[in-house]
């Protein structure tokens, strides 16, 4: 494999993603964790660009970073008192969880490595093509119209539900 600038940047993004994800699960300060998550999300967005998915990348940044992360930060601020800012982890749980996670990782890696169809599969080398138009076509005028509408309703319902649940006074 040629080690070009592109490859370098790819590895950079990959490293950024994985490392920040690791931070997300390890740092004790929840606010720090949230910011690490932001970095992870940016990393994934970068990887999307490498996958020729410009629209997806943009969505990732806008929705995740702009929406979900802010939501999480709000959640942190509303629930945690000053003392709750730190995350406590019990040792036993840590070990058990780590073991399972590790086992899972090994399993996944084995699968990835051993599936013949996936082995050394490379892309077709096309340059970045704008996908927005095609996606728009598919979603609004194609086979994905119904799922799209369903998902819209779902989102709406979820938001209404969320608003309902989090209201202060609960009716009997």
């Amino acid at each position: 494999m040629e080690f070009t600038l592109k490859t370098f940047i790819f590895y950079g993004f990959a490293l950024m993603t994985v490392a920040s994800a690791l931070l997300v699960v390890t740092v004790r300060n929840i606010v720090h964790a949230a910011f690490s998550l932001m970095v992870t999300l940016f990393g994934v967005a970068g990887l999307y660009v490498f996958l020729q998915a410009d629209f997806l990348a943009a969505t990732q940044v806008i929705v995740y970073v702009g929406g979900i992360l802010v939501l999480i930060l709000f959640g942190v601020m509303m629930t945690s008192g000053r003392l709750e800012m730190r995350i406590h982890i019990e040792r036993g749980q840590l070990l058990l969880g780590g073991a399972v996670a590790l086992a899972l990782l090994m399993l996944l890696l084995t699968v990835i490595a051993n599936t013949p169809a996936w082995k050394n599969r490379i892309d077709d080398g096309t340059e970045l093509q704008p996908t927005t138009e095609r996606i728009g076509e598919l979603i609004l005028n194609g086979p994905f119209l119904l799922p799209f509408e369903v998902v819209s309703v779902l989102l709406l319902v979820a938001l209404i539900g969320a608003a309902l649940i989090s209201r202060k006074e609960v009716r009997d």
Partner: protein, 754 residues
């Protein structure tokens, strides 16, 4: 023309009732319901007279399909012959008079409009019954008059006695009706129709299809249909409701329980005349005869003026049944007609008397001058009768008291006496009716009709040489004598002698015009000449009886002719001439007659002489007992104490029914209900419980029978294991998730390894 006349006759009263019913839904009243109903009745009366001239003597029928099924059709229709026309006259006439009478009698009652509405409904039902040409139609009218009777007996339903009486009346007659319905089912199963007349009617079919082998069946069917008449016409043993029915307002008693509805049974039996066999005829005759005698004996000892009349009605209805059972069709119907008028007159007369006493009560207790009848009734009811009692038979009256047959003081003859000066019109008219019912000869209609029946029965007895009919004749004759006795007892106790209750006597007064006019009209109607206007011997022809076979040695005489000659007598008033004429008529008509018929002419004469004798005897005895008082009722009573008790307790019918039949039914109902609640439902619930607890039950079984300790051990183990396993349920989601994931990893590993 005929159809529209009949429709008018039926629809007028119905409309009068409908106005009441529909306005009642919105809690309104027609301002003058009484005028409306009376006018409707008068129109019907006029139409009936028109119809009499229209139809008679040619019978006419008009039918429409009422229910049409695949193979069967139930039709509804009119059948008009002379009998129908006469019945229409009788019903509309009496009904109109009672309407008018009620305007005075019921005045001031809080439910005054309703009373007239009910009367209208009754008139409609009764007329419907009369004109129907098929059994189903008759049954419909039959039940509807029963309903009206129920409503009217219970008109003053605040009184418990009235509430009881109306229920009793409906239920008792319904028992008979069920018999009638079974009879209808039998006929229907055989002939597939319930129409009576015409080609496909029951009469034509029974005449053409039935053989001698069917006679038992036909007799049973006939008797079952007659059961309906037993109920409606208060024959033995279903007569007990009629005396109680006197709880209703007196005009109702006059209209329904004397003149029309109770006579419907006789009418039905007469209608069924063509399918009667000799057995069913005999049953009918015996029921009638026994009823006539028994009811008459009970009437002797009553003190309630209305009850006397009620038992008298039962007795007279028995007479009519006897006539029809003995084949004297025309005589029976003639007696029905005459009885309707004079008995209505008697009841209205007694109503007039009661009204006079009533008013006294209203005055006596409040200062109001309005006569509030229901209020008066409550007063009388509350007051009871013990204080107001006369001196006679007080201990027996007390036993009556215990039995619950309290006599309202305004109806108790022991409070009356000497009223003839106070109420002259009432007295005169009632006297006419009494003379009529007692069979005082020649100028009163009752004599002719009763005489016709007696002659008819005796005639048949002589012709058939039948012991049964001789017995029946003696029964009828004794009943006639007793009737004369107790009717004059009533007159003497009420109108003659000294006032027994001075306070009440002082208050009594003659009734208003609206009440006396109907009395006068009815008095005129109790004269035989008037009756011949519609009851004309020329067109009342008995129908043939194809299934009635005389004993082989006897000759079948159309002894129903006797009835006709009786009428002829009434018309001309010359008995010998007509007797001769009748004899001659027989000679020409039945040229082949054998010696049996020679007894017929004599039968008539004998019957007439005997009937005059017994009537005279009855009146004489009555006079001696209750007016001259040369004979003492008390001493006779003491001498014949057991018989007196039997009469006083009405042969213990009520006690038997209440104590045995009603109690048995209620007991059975309780039993069934308990069975339903405990056994049937118990089984159901049991199954439910068993199914639910099947494991527990199984364990229990194991526990008891197998090894107690082992089971306990099992339980302990289960408990312990449960306690352990319970801990797995930490409630922490993460633990669950952990287990799930670990499980997934393990599973994948295992299956990959394989």
């Amino acid at each position: 023309m005929t159809v529209s006349l009949i429709s008018l006759i039926l629809l007028c009263p119905l409309a009068a009732f409908a106005v009441f019913g529909l306005l009642g839904l919105v809690n309104r009243r027609f301002p003058r319901q009484d005028y409306l109903s009376t006018a409707a009745m008068l129109i019907a009366l006029a139409c009936s007279f028109l119809l009499l001239r229209e139809v008679v003597p040619k019978p006419e029928a008009h039918t429409v399909n009422w229910i049409s099924l695949g193979n069967v059709t139930f039709s509804m229709g009119f059948y008009l012959d002379s009998v129908t026309a006469i019945m229409l006259i009788v019903v509309t006439l009496v009904s109109s008079l009672v309407h008018i009478f009620s305007m005075g009698y019921m005045h001031g009652d809080p439910r005054y409009p309703r009373f007239f509405a009910y009367l209208s409904l009754f008139s409609f039902s009764m007329l419907f019954l009369v004109v129907s040409d098929n059994l189903l139609g008759i049954y419909i009218g039959w039940e509807l008059v029963g309903l009206c009777s129920y409503l009217l007996i219970g008109f003053w339903f605040e009184k418990d006695s009235a509430a009881n009486a109306c229920k009793k009346a409906f239920l008792t007659t319904r028992v008979g009706d069920v018999g009638m319905f079974i009879g209808m089912m039998m006929l229907f199963a055989k002939f597939k129709t319930l129409s009576l007349y015409g080609e496909g009617g029951i009469f034509a079919l029974s005449a053409s299809q039935l053989t001698t082998g069917d006679m038992v069946w036909l007799s049973i069917a006939g008797v079952l249909i007659f059961c309906g008449a037993i109920g409606k016409s208060a024959q033995m043993p279903l007569h007990t409701w009629l005396p109680d029915a006197m709880e209703g307002p007196t005009p109702v008693s006059a209209l329904i329980h004397a003149a029309t509805m109770v006579a419907a049974g006789v009418y039905l039996t007469a209608r069924m005349f063509p399918i009667l066999t000799e057995t069913s005829s005999l049953v009918i005759a015996y029921v009638g005869g026994i009823t006539a005698l028994v009811a008459a004996t009970i009437a002797i000892v009553r003190f309630d003026i209305k009850r006397v009349l009620a038992y008298s009605t039962i007795s007279q209805l028995g007479y009519m049944m006897l006539a029809i059972g003995a084949g004297s069709y025309v005589a029976g119907l003639f007696h029905l007609t005459t009885h309707a008028f004079f008995k209505a007159l008697l009841f209205l007369g007694s109503g007039s008397v009661i009204h006079a006493f009533h008013a006294m009560h209203a005055h006596g207790h409040d200062d109001e001058h309005e006569h509030d009848d229901s209020e008066a009734h409550e007063h009388t009811h509350d007051q009871g009768d013990s204080d107001a009692h006369g001196h006679e038979h007080s201990e027996d009256a007390d036993s009556g008291h215990i039995l619950g047959s309290e006599i309202p003081p305004d109806q108790d003859m022991r409070n009356m006496g000497g009223l003839r000066h106070k109420m002259p019109i009432t007295f005169i008219t009632m006297l006419i009716a009494t003379l009529s019912i007692s069979g005082v000869p020649f100028i009163f209609s009752g004599f002719w009709s009763k005489d016709a029946i007696l002659a008819g029965v005796l005639g048949r007895a002589m012709e058939w040489n039948s012991v049964h009919h001789y017995i029946l004749f003696i029964m009828a004759l004794s009943a006639a004598g007793i009737t004369a006795f107790y009717m004059f007892r009533l007159i003497f106790m009420t109108f003659f002698g000294e006032p027994r209750n001075q306070e009440m006597h002082d208050m009594a007064h003659e009734s208003p015009l609206s009440m006396t006019v109907p009395l006068l009209v009815l008095a005129v109607l109790s004269l035989p000449v008037v009756n011949t206007l519609w009851f004309n011997a020329d067109y009342v022809e008995p129908p043939p009886q194809p299934h009635l076979h005389a004993p082989t040695h006897a000759y079948i005489a159309p002894d129903t002719k006797t009835g006709r000659t009786g009428l002829a007598l009434s018309l001309f008033g010359v008995s010998e001439a007509v007797a001769a004429e009748e004899d001659a008529g027989h000679g020409t008509q039945d040229a082949h007659a054998d010696d049996g018929h020679h007894g017929h002419g004599p039968a008539h004469t004998i019957a007439m002489v005997l009937s005059i004798c017994v009537a005279g005897l009855g009146i004489l005895l009555s006079w001696l007992f209750y007016h001259r008082r040369t004979l003492s009722a008390e001493s006779v009573t003491t001498t014949f104490r057991p018989i007196y008790n039997l009469f006083w307790h009405k042969y213990y019918f009520d006690e038997f029914y209440d104590g045995v039949l009603v109690a048995l039914t209620v007991w059975k109902a309780r039993l069934f209900a308990q069975f339903d609640g405990s056994v049937v439902d118990g089984i159901v619930n049991g199954v439910g419980v068993v199914t639910r607890d099947i494991l527990a039950a199984f364990v229990g079984f194991f526990d008891n029978r197998v090894v107690d300790g082992l089971v306990n051990r099992v339980a302990q183990v289960t408990w312990a294991v449960g306690g352990r396993i319970r801990r797995i349920q930490t409630g922490a989601i993460q633990t669950y998730l952990f287990v799930v994931l670990a499980g997934i990893v393990l599973l994948i590993l295992i299956f990959r390894a394989l």
